[in-house]
Amino acid sequence: MKITVASGKGGTGKTTVATNLALALADDHPVQFLDCDVEEPNAHIFLKPQIGQRKSVEKLLPKVDEHLCTRCGNCAEACEFNAIAVIGKKVLVYNDLCHGCGLCKLVCPVGAISEIPHELGVIESGTARGFPFSHGLLNIGEAMATPLIHELKAGIDPEALIILDAPPGTGCPTIAAIQGADLALLVTEPTPFGLHDLRAAVGVARSLGVPIGVIINRDGIGDDRVERYCEEEGIPIVLKIPFDREIAQFYSRGVSLVDVLPEWRERFISLYGMLTAGLVSDIPGERRAQNAPLQEGGGK
């Protein structure tokens, strides 16, 4: 079983849900936690992992030998990301656009392109409260988050119950984190902005064929539009976390709800029971997860 916790924007309580779910389930299930929010990972604040391993994630960036280059433009023509351009007398390589696919090097007729490893970030792995934990840290100024997410997912134990904290938004990194999940838990707030971002996130999960459950955080601060939307769309609301001073204070101190409020531990455990019992429409139960180990989606 692989559960991705996602949201259309940051700051909705996505990490609260992911970390509490992991902590509540870890006693009875082989939880593995992946923080894929590589631009702003913060699950470690709540899970306090002991990091044992660090691994650098690199891409191969083309480097052009200006003396060999004939300015033929083949490389720029071939690159679908506009990451290399021949402008005037110069060949420019754009690190932030380059996917490191190596095509430009292949098409260069004079062998002017070599490749140099360029670090995008690191993956740190270890143990948090007895279960495997890993997170990715994108280097400052790097734009390519997706390779780190693929690297994190490559470390998935097929036997484990995966809880994956996805990057907020609807771009490539979010898609990479939702792809291949058995279930996307989309966290939102009951406000017009929350609804807007939820719609976008629902669009992503649906396009990937991943079943959805919605969690409303700070319930009570807004209106019922999110609920009406979910009803119209036939999307189950699987949990509501009220807007509550006590909860907010625990959060700000890096304390997990399930550690201090036993009723929340029960709620997260029964949430998981509900998800796997198939009470939530078209969410595949554990049966499928056991019979067919998760396949990683294709993706770049």
Partner: protein, 117 residues
């Protein structure tokens, strides 16, 4: 001297398009001869700024008049040897007039945020 102005439409009466990389049209204009040539932009999902800089370079404009320019476009335009004037507003004709009067600041670095990713 050939100018490139980013515009929402193909004529001098159309409004300036404030974003260089994702502008609807590039208007190439020579104020001396009155020559006007509009190229519609079709920015892809990736590297719109780079692509736009290539269009400017290929059409031989050495002066760009626009609203703002992102980091990737800026680098491309510098490589193309173009001077970039930002902060243009109103119609294309207004912007050309403002440029001629020296009212537009010359960009010495990227102004807009890039849309690279």
């Amino acid at each position: 001297m050939r100018l490139c102005i980013t515009a929402k439409g193909p004529s001098l009466g159309d409004d300036i398009d404030l974003s260089f990389g994702r502008a609807a049209y590039f208007l190439f204009h020579d104020p001396k001869t009155g020559e006007l040539h509009a190229i519609p932009n079709s920015p892809g999902a990736h590297g719109a700024g780079v692509q736009a800089a290539r269009i400017v370079a290929e059409n031989g404009a050495k002066t760009v008049i626009t609203g703002s320019v992102g980091p990737n476009a800026y680098r491309g335009l510098v490589a193309a040897g173009a001077e970039i004037y930002v902060g243009a507003e109103g119609t294309v004709a207004d912007a050309i007039a403002a440029y001629k009067e020296g009212k537009l600041p010359r960009a010495d670095g990227p102004s807009g945020r890039g849309h690279g990713r």
